[in-house]
Amino acid sequence: MVTRSRKVIPGPAFTGADERRDGPQGGPHDGARVAVVIPLPRKDGAEAGVVLTPEQQRSRRARSLAIAVVLGALVVLFYAVTLVKLGPGVLNRPL
């Protein structure tokens, strides 16, 4: 089940409507108006911003871990391929 995320702003905010209604017919967005919440700074200094649901936090953590693993693997791959392509020449350079 898809949990709908909402930007929860604990302060004054302007709520408008996105009029781009050219989505696919029969699709999940058909006929719905998209709410756009624009946060404004609070005078009392309370924290304002996007509040993620627990499910969104789990998804974000999983994505971050996946990106970290892929980047790490690429570093190792490029390092190893560099050694393979240079061969013994990697140690043979003028000082």
Partner: protein, 323 residues
């Protein structure tokens, strides 16, 4: 543009980035991004690329061979993601595809486009720089052909979409061969030709029992436009051309007797199943015949390429054995 007029009020490019984001922003998992890469298609691409890599002359370092396969797989995934971005409107109305990440609202169209473009650039540049420029250029052509020619142009315009577009799915063994040999020759071209002529009977047999799905989405697949009987005839004709073509590597000396035997035996089954599809035109028997041909066509291509792989590896395995 197609003259079918179905679904043409839908903007090309699928959903605009802002729509899906508002529904399920931040819920995409790594699995959703993997799904964007069409892993089942990717596995077939990698398998045929391995065969091209192993059979090619030259002595490519195993790490560079792995890098080449990684780039080819990533390039295929990039093409899949860009295809899902462009076809999100079609996917949303087809039973087979409506649970994909974009129509399900887990990934926005803009995210899928960025993901696909990033992977495409990475795979082409990496293959070109780390392996060789010929392979990199061929991979770039393959991705551009699949996305630009098949997905963006032919798919919605002509019932010959999968015939011409099938070239993109057929090219991976050629890319892999170029990665190992630095050039191309007749043998990998034959591999490309086999996959190219295998594609129409494979996809049209699927389209025969998914006709309503394609019609609802406005995709002019052959059964939708020309009718099931014309499709059955063309399936049979393409199969009759494919089977001797698939046998030709044995005749031309590119493959051994094992390949010849497999190509003959499996080819005979393909012709029989295609004949059944042509003969059975009504009711459950017609659907069953189409499903059997679709299922066996996958096994047929796998058997051909697995035998090519086995014949190439057998001498090396025998040499490595201690007795």
């Amino acid at each position: 543009m197609s003259d079918l007029g179905i679904g043409h009020s839908i903007p090309r490019g699928g959903l605009s980035a802002g729509h899906a984001e508002e529904l399920a922003e931040g819920l995409a998992t790594p699995g959703d991004y993997l799904a964007l890469m069409k892993p089942r298609v990717m596995s077939l691409v990698v398998f045929t690329a391995v065969v091209g890599l192993v059979r090619a002359p030259g002595d490519l370092h195993p790490l560079l061979a792995f890098t080449a396969l990684l780039c080819i797989a990533t390039g295929a995934g990039a093409a899949g993601a860009l295809n899902m971005w462009w076809d999100a409107d079609i996917d949303a109305v087809m039973d087979r595809t409506r649970r994909r990440p974009i129509p399900a609202g887990r990934v926005s169209a803009g995210e899928a486009r960025a993901f696909g473009l990033l992977l495409a650039a990475f795979s082409v540049v990496t293959l070109g720089l780390l392996v060789n420029l010929v392979a990199g250029a061929l991979l770039a052509f393959t991705i551009a052909f699949y996305v630009g020619v098949y997905t963006m142009w032919l798919k919605r315009v002509t019932p010959q979409n999968i015939v011409v577009g099938g070239l993109a799915g057929a090219l991976p063994p050629l890319v892999a061969w170029a990665a190992a040999a630095g050039t191309v020759s007749l043998e990998p071209m034959l591999m490309v030709a086999i996959i190219f002529f295998w594609t129409p009977p494979h996809f049209w047999s699927l389209a025969l029992f998914r006709t309503d799905d394609y019609a609802r989405a406005g995709v002019p697949m052959l059964p939708v436009v020309a009718g099931p009987d014309q499709t059955r005839l063309l399936i049979l004709l393409y199969t009759l051309f494919l089977v001797p073509l698939a046998f030709s590597p044995a005749v031309l000396g590119f493959a051994g007797p094992a390949y010849g035997a497999v190509a003959l035996a499996c080819g005979a089954v393909m012709v029989r199943l295609a004949w059944e599809v042509f003969r059975q035109r009504q009711g459950v028997a017609a659907v069953t015949a189409a499903k059997r041909l679709f299922g066996f066509s996958i096994l047929y291509l796998f058997a051909l390429f697995a035998t090519l792989l086995g014949e190439a590896l057998a001498p090396q395995v025998a040499e490595a054995l201690p007795w």
